[in-house]
Symmetry: C2
Amino acid sequence: MITINDVAAHAGVSTATVSRVLNGKSTVDQQLADRVLVAAKELGYRRNGLARNLRRQSTAVLALIISDVENPFFTAIARGVEDIAQEAGYSVVLCNSDDNADKEARYVDVAVSEQVAGVIVSPTTAEPNFAPLRDAGVPIVAVDRPVPGPPTDTVLVDSRLGARQATEHLLGQGYTTVACLTGPRGVPTADDRAAGHRDALRAAGLRAPAALTKRAEYRASGARSATVELFRGRTRPDAVLVANNAMAIGTLQALRELGLRPGSDVGVVTFDEAPWTTLIDPPLTVVAQPAYDIGSHAVRMMLDRIAEPDRDVRTTTLHTALVERASSVR
Amino acid sequence: MITINDVAAHAGVSTATVSRVLNGKSTVDQQLADRVLVAAKELGYRRNGLARNLRRQSTAVLALIISDVENPFFTAIARGVEDIAQEAGYSVVLCNSDDNADKEARYVDVAVSEQVAGVIVSPTTAEPNFAPLRDAGVPIVAVDRPVPGPPTDTVLVDSRLGARQATEHLLGQGYTTVACLTGPRGVPTADDRAAGHRDALRAAGLRAPAALTKRAEYRASGARSATVELFRGRTRPDAVLVANNAMAIGTLQALRELGLRPGSDVGVVTFDEAPWTTLIDPPLTVVAQPAYDIGSHAVRMMLDRIAEPDRDVRTTTLHTALVERASSVR
DNA sequence: TTGTAGGCGTTATCAA
DNA sequence: TTGATAACGCCTACAA
């Protein structure tokens, strides 16, 4: 391995000069600088990031811990994070916690011991533990869901309002019994969707019986059986608001099995835009979340925090957009 | 920051002993070991990964460079990589090259300077340059596409055969003019699909006119316009084989615009399984690729290579499975 | 402007 | 078995 010592020797200067040149520091005589650059190139010098990290006690790496790599919502966030981070000279390492507290904890550990410059995280369902990050002074930005504990920079989506608007839209289309299929109790985004649904029913002067809100894992399989139960139950709905992308797939499968056609038989609105929503028949009405923007905002917040560790903690709330298609029209 | 020096002082032993205990090395007197453990816990000691990395000249991190985080095929690979790597005690950092040679090069640089233990990569379209990795002795495993240059451990899918089988299936269903919509010329997976398509036509005693093979970027938008051209061209096909997931979406959009119904009007088979393929009407026949297995195989290969750097270079080829649904039946 | 030299926290070598 | 100590490669006071 070629080190700055080799380069220094080859260029006939000191290691300090080499370091300065390589980092564009202070004013080094142009001639010397050139000699260093030439020597470095001739020798095929490559900086040893490990040594630099140790010396600097930090890295130009941001960790992004998301709960599901296979969910387009999160990969869109990842893209937003990556694009902006790249511009700022940071690398992004993507960690998939799989909504599993253990995996999440492991990545948190790695983030601390490898001293990443910051962690952007969408916390898992279970009670997450970010104390190690806090203790080590690693900046945290939460996305999609707030983190419990001390105030933390956060980027959220107003999904309560999004759910409310979607429900109102369904009611406005003449559906009378709008159900809500959402995620597990205690998951903020799941509870928000349920609350928005309730808001809309109440505002319309309707009762909001518990039987109209159904909970399942944020996955297709859970949503499928939950949908079947919902439409076989006593208070049979004529419309449903589904809380995310993955669940939407399960719900649509279930409706097909039940012989119910979206739109004409059952009004359907789901959270999250996806490439296939216009391909199905009828096309799916969605509550589109600004996933990419969540990511880009989160990085900007992180960069601000790194630049100014003592600044006030902020929470940014972005908004959803209802995209009306045929699945919510009779 | 608490260091092993602090722990050593607190436990009344040397740093060497602390290090040994913390790494489960050699046989340390049980009593001393206990004292060290207690001291570490009391002080809230956390290992500094940076220092360890520098000293060891290596990290327990694998880099996975994929060309599109938003493509389910690659995220499924990622999951396979991650699951197995975790078991073996490696962390995985996911890098999204966006099929952009510059981004890829940047990640390669980072991988070298941060001295990751290995790089698993699906090379970009453009001529990739992995010389820095090779020079630094970082093991490489290629997935999905071979890398140019010296022999490299590789996990491929026999997509030529997959394409052939899909084409034969369409011909067997009575479609007579089967087109192939594939990726850019020079991209191995794209060329393989075209070749498999040709193989099937020839084996059936048919001519394989160039007009039946259309190329576009591996994206929905390109596939959309390419499909329109294909079906408005002179040799109008009555079936089409589409080369990937993202393109499938564009093709299906185009067919709808053209008023052509999959199955009855146009036989459609696409590469890659996706959650929505059963939701559309009619359900989509696909050439399913074993994406998860690609990832898990790649990691195993990597672990073997790390354990035994001089072993023979291997290429593993996995196979596709044709999943017949209604889009390829009249 | 340039060079010297110390230290970042850990592991591994060598003595004891 | 344990301890002292020298690296690992880089950056940065501080001195010249």
